[in-house]
């Protein structure tokens, strides 16, 4: 096994009573990598995070986190991982500062680190505010600040930007990329395909508890780029979508020579269209 693999799942399945929520999940996460778990609601993303972090037991298969089988995980693992989920709450009556300070105490993190993290998430000016008074985006940033306070080796984010405004989302994306640069491994779930394309080194498309596609966003998109197409805007305002075939190539070449092309795009599939295709719910048919 490669040295810097921090997390690996092999043949993990989870059954809730009769419902098979996860089927034979295999994947690895390396240091300094962002891995995205994409899937619609109910696909099993949260369940996967819970199994890896020892909050839920898998029905079969093996999950190893930082060298420990998740079945044998005890509380000490949380000193090396950070978890942000929709059920990560904050102490509303405490100030923003106190919210971090008490966790800093748990992890023996120095005061300066608290200041640093507050700066990073842009909450420094609100540090004496009761946390209950924060806006939704600010709250989310506080939760993220807490999750990275102890510089975990692996960070788990369950839909870190869902319901946030684009500016806050971008700020969070920037922070995640910085953390990745510092060597943190990040496992995030999202149903925002754009976010995944932008952030993730590799993504797993999850559908009904099964990984239906796995690889870098680019690889996946190009793999499905079977029918190459070009979108052309001609002088005079005519817009065309042309498939790649000898006839069209000649056409485009001629337009190019005549300097008639105002704009030309290749129409490769996005993660979104790939997802729709592999899950059999292709809306473009």
């Amino acid at each position: 096994m490669e040295q810097n693999v921090l997390l690996s799942l092999s043949h993990v399945s989870k059954r809730f009573k009769t419902e098979l929520a996860l089927k034979d999940i295999n994947m690895t996460l390396r240091q300094g990598e962002i891995l995205g778990f994409l899937g619609p609601s109910g696909a099993g993303k949260t369940t996967t995070i819970k199994i890896i972090t020892g909050q839920l037991r898998q029905t079969s298969g093996e999950a190893r986190l930082l060298g420990t089988d998740s079945a044998n995980i005890d509380e000490s693992i949380y000193e090396n991982i950070g978890v942000v989920s929709d059920s990560s709450g904050i102490y509303k009556k405490m100030t923003v500062w106190q919210n971090l300070a008490v966790f800093a105490r748990i992890w023996k993190v120095p005061r300066e680190r608290v200041e640093q993290v507050l700066d990073q998430v842009g909450l420094a000016e609100h540090k004496n505010k009761p946390a209950g008074k924060l806006s939704k985006g600010q709250t989310q940033r506080l939760v993220l600040a807490r999750a990275v306070l102890h510089k975990p080796r692996v960070l788990f984010l369950d839909e870190p930007t869902s319901g946030l405004d684009p500016t806050t989302a971008v700020a969070i994306h920037r922070m995640l990329l910085e953390l990745k640069e510092q060597g943190m491994a990040i496992f995030l779930t999202t149903h925002n395909m754009e976010e995944a394309t932008k952030l993730c080194d590799r993504v797993a498309l999850l559908h009904d508890g099964e990984i239906v596609e796995f690889g870098s966003p680019q690889e996946i998109c190009l793999k499905y780029n079977r029918n190459k197409k070009y979108h052309v805007l001609l002088a005079g305002g005519r817009e065309l979508e042309l498939a790649q075939n000898p006839e069209n190539i000649v056409k485009i070449t001629r337009w190019m020579e005549g300097d008639e092309i105002m704009r030309i795009h290749s129409c490769e599939p996005t993660l979104e269209t790939v997802f729709l295709e592999v899950t059999g719910k292709d809306l473009n048919v």
Binding site: G67, Y78, S88, M94, V102, W107, Q182
Partner: protein, 267 residues
Amino acid sequence: MKSMDGAMRPAQMSMGKAAGRGGSLHKLAAVTQIKWLCISRNTMIMIGPLIVIGMVYACKILYGVRSEGTLVPFLTGMLLNIGISMNICAEGFIMVGTSIAEEKENHTLRALMTSSITGVQYFFGSILIPFVMLMAVNYIVLFISGISLEIVPWIPFFLVSAVASLTSCVLGMIVGICAKNQMNANLISYPFLMVFMMIPVFGNLSEGLHKISGFLFTGVMTGMTERLANGERYVMSALDMAVLFGELAVSILVFLILYKRNGYEKD
């Protein structure tokens, strides 16, 4: 897989690991601090001890004026009885129970449990402040009730008071483990309150209740103060001892059974 923990890890990433080594007292301290910050900001909870102390003090003054400064023992006993039962029950269950319920409501319990706090640390961190407050109020009530302090048997008083307060805190943990939210916690507390608070309080009025009261940990406590109020010596009986430690043991057992089943929070 051993190699995974090895040299590949950048130096700055080892902060969490270091925290694991130096014992875990700092984690207990952190939970205690959290509980203090929560409890001290909860007016509903903080007002309780003040009401108890204020009530005992006010009664003493009001009745004291009519009887030229000295209370009849029956009244002193009654006062102590009400003050201490209210303190131990209402405050104990409610302080511990609702603070856990509040953490469930706000999903901070999950945050703590995924931050390397163990169940044991959470248990002791949750009851430490309430326990100290219960004990303090017991002593304050004793001092202001006007009882003659020469006859107070300090060691048995401490022992009874400590075991009763602890039992109350454990019952509060049981309430907290069962409750889904704060409303729910109050609802679950009522039956406990009816039994452990009302029976000793009304024990003064009915012989039957008085007998039952002797089998409750709160009743042992009020039984002791009643004797003291009457100017009698208190010697701990075998029954008192059995009731106190028996009920503490049963509460701890019930707590453990519930905890083993679902942890603090059912998933």
